[in-house]
């Protein structure tokens, strides 16, 4: 996508290109500025977090905040990260395992309620999680899944699944039916064709859906706040909030935690970025 964008831009007038680049620069700055500020604050010594100095790396830069986050046993940073990782990875895996066959069925088979089903899945995406909070909470109480990772995963699944099914269905639609038919003739069952031909061909779409599901769970706060009440079960969004005291917030370690937490996500994005571009466009173009 980026490739074609710039190729097309080449044909444009230099004024248009200048304008496009200006807009992009402004957009980047707007997106990056808060992040850079957080990094700056995380590097300040505890005495000067509210300093008005605007330099990116403060003159008295120190890693003390990082040290206290990473190594202070009272903070529990590693527990939060471990909990978050577990919840997010399981959410991503289970969403993938359930979404792939569902999407395949939506893409290939005719059945009663197919179209309404798809629309229904889409409609669920219109409700913000906050709106679902109360019903989710009541259901989880009935299921005795409060203060339980599975309860949280179940909630995240209800957000991640519809989206994953839509993305994967869009991608499967682009894979010609001939391939499965060739596989049937070569000797697979329909299920065999799905596993041996369709799934291996869909790695881009599968990685993207996994990434989105992971992200859904990784940075979610409100549902986690309601479902998890024991400190030991806190995911990092809940954990970092404990750094905010009632009267005084330790902004240094807080920022350091924010920076550290974004590292796994950045790595994941880098790993899947080549699919992110090709896969999403492939999934979008039907044919």
């Amino acid at each position: 996508m980026a490739g074609t964008f710039f190729k097309r831009a080449k044909g444009d007038s230099s004024f248009k290109r200048l304008l496009i680049n200006l807009i992009l620069i402004v957009a980047c700055a707007a997106a990056l500025y808060p992040v850079l500020r957080v990094i700056t604050v995380s590097l300040r010594p505890s005495g000067s977090v509210f300093s008005m100095d605007l330099s990116l790396i403060p003159p008295d830069a120190t890693l003390a905040s990082y040290q206290s986050i990473l190594f202070d046993p009272k903070v529990g940073f590693w527990t939060w990260i471990g909990n978050s990782l577990m919840v997010s990875v399981i959410t991503a895996m289970v969403a993938l395992i359930l979404a792939a066959p569902a999407a395949y069925a939506f893409s290939r088979f005719k059945f009663a309620g197919k179209q309404p089903g798809l629309i229904f899945l889409l409609v669920t995406q219109f409700f913000p999680a906050t709106m679902l909070l109360l019903p989710l909470y009541m259901m989880l109480i009935q299921l005795s899944l409060i203060n339980n990772f599975w309860g949280l995963i179940l909630c995240y699944m209800s957000i991640a699944l519809p989206f994953s099914i839509w993305i994967l269905k869009g991608y499967f639609d682009t894979i010609p039916n001939d391939l499965e038919e060739a596989a049937y003739i070569d000797g697979t069952t329909p299920l065999g064709a799905f596993f041996r031909v369709i799934l291996p061909l869909s790695t881009p779409a599968l990685s993207i859906t996994a990434l989105f599901s992971f992200m859904t769970a990784w940075s979610e706060f409100i549902i986690a706040r309601v479902v998890l009440q024991k400190q030991a079960l806190f995911t990092w969004p809940l954990g970092t909030v404990t750094l905010q005291g009632a009267y005084y917030t330790n902004w240094g370690p807080f920022s350091a935690a924010a920076v550290l937490i974004s590292i796994p996500v950045v790595i994941l994005f880098l790993l899947t970025s080549k699919y992110l571009v090709s896969g999403l466009t492939l999934g979008a173009v039907k044919g």
């Binding site: 010609p176 001939d178 391939l179 038919e181 060739a182 596989a183 049937y184 003739i185 070569d186 000797g187 697979t188 069952t189 065999g192 041996r196 031909v197 291996p200 061909l201």
Partner: protein, 387 residues
């Protein structure tokens, strides 16, 4: 290897009847070409035999076995798709080995068979490549290779050459022909390209609108078309058709809008029941020659050259015959007059395929002679061949 037999096979998609009762027996080891215009149901027939589509009614036999209810994998067939349908994520080798592995063939045997097929199709240097790194012709050969390694009872090929350029198409056609001679597997080959059909098939099956029109050797369908559709579909440029009235007493004539031709004595018996009725007279472009004729049977027809197409070894003349050189026989004149008025309304234009040495130019008036021994006549209503 096996015989393939279709018995009153029908297929409908919803309310639309696509195949309307196909009866076809393909002898063991034969190379049969299914030829017909786009949308006539060729692919559908093939998919029914392959088991990718379920028959609405009728029976399919492969060898002695009725296969209607068997899934594709149990029918022991291989198919070359029009789109090739190579697995994009597998190498050429894996594409060809996939079916063998699924059938639990031993490793060494898989290697041996794939190498052998690759050798035959000159794919050996490409075995490690993915399909996307192949040219169209190479992909086509991989698709064929994937079919032959399996050593199936029947090959099904759906327009496998349609994506190739003209030269490669001819070349691959010859290769497929050789391959069939070598392997001797019953092959059903679908195409809408009649050149392909005439050169490849031992037997040609002509289909139209879900019905088999004729089955025969290439020369059968060319020289003795069973009906007007086959006559017009096979051959390029197509056969010329003239609406005609059968006229005369003892001697019969074809009365066209602007000229008349005698019916050869040996054809009179067949045409006698049509005396005074509409028929369609047909003659191929190559059976129309320049010249004055002999005056008796081969009467010259005067025509104007509208367009002249020079194609190297031959010339196509697009001719039209002027009106009003017509004398009806007195006896049937009354009977004919009305129908004849209708005939007159249809323009008479036709194509002749002549020697490039002809001096004719566009706009010229020329004399042509119809080789009546090679003409055809069709019933105007049923369109069946009278002879």
């Amino acid at each position: 290897m096996a015989e393939v037999r279709l018995v009153n096979l029908a297929k409908a998609f919803g309310p639309v009847q696509i195949l309307k009762g196909i009866d076809l027996t393909i002898p063991d080891g034969e190379f049969v070409v299914l030829l017909g215009p786009s949308g006539c149901g060729k692919t559908t027939t093939l998919r029914l035999i392959a088991g990718l589509e379920e028959a609405t009614s009728g029976e399919i036999f492969i060898g002695e076995r009725k296969v209607n209810d068997l899934p594709p994998k149990e029918r022991d067939i291989a198919m070359v798709f029009q789109s090739y349908a190579l697995y994009p994520h597998m190498t050429v080798f894996d594409n060809m080995a996939f079916g063998l592995r699924l059938h639990g063939v031993r490793r060494e045997e898989v290697d041996r068979r794939v190498m052998e097929a690759a050798e035959m199709l000159e794919l050996t240097p490409l075995l490690a490549r993915k399909p996307r790194a192949l040219s169209g012709g190479q992909r086509q050969r991989v698709a064929v290779g994937r079919a032959i390694v399996r050593n199936p009872k029947v090959f099904l090929m759906d327009e496998p050459l349609s994506n190739l350029d003209a030269k490669l198409r001819v070349q691959t056609r010859v290769e497929l022909s050789k391959l069939h001679m070598k392997l001797g597997v019953t092959t059903i080959y679908v195409t809408h390209d009649q050149m392909e059909a005439m050169t490849l098939g031992n037997l040609v099956v002509i289909m139209n609108q879900g019905i088999i029109q004729q089955m025969g050797t290439p020369s059968d369908v060319y020289d003795r078309p069973a009906n007007k559709f086959v006559a017009g579909f096979v051959g390029s440029p197509p056969m010329n058709f003239f609406p005609a009235l059968v006229d005369g007493e003892e001697e019969l004539f074809f009365q066209m809008a602007s000229f008349r031709l005698p019916v050869l004595p040996e054809r009179c018996a067949a045409l006698a029941p049509y005396r005074g009725k509409d028929v369609v007279f047909g003659i191929r472009p190559e059976d129309i020659n320049m010249g004055g004729g002999d005056g008796a049977v081969h009467i010259p027809v005067t025509a104007k050259v509208d367009v002249l197409e020079l194609l190297g070894a031959e010339i196509f003349l697009y001719l039209s015959s002027p009106e009003g050189i017509f004398v009806a026989s007195s006896a049937s004149q009354k009977l004919l007059s009305q129908k004849f008025l209708k005939l007159k309304a249809t323009a008479v234009s036709f194509i002749a395929r002549v020697d490039p040495s002809t001096p004719a130019k566009e706009g010229d008036s020329v004399q042509v002679v119809f080789n009546l021994g090679r003409s055809h006549a069709f019933d105007a209503d049923s369109e069946r061949a009278i002879y």
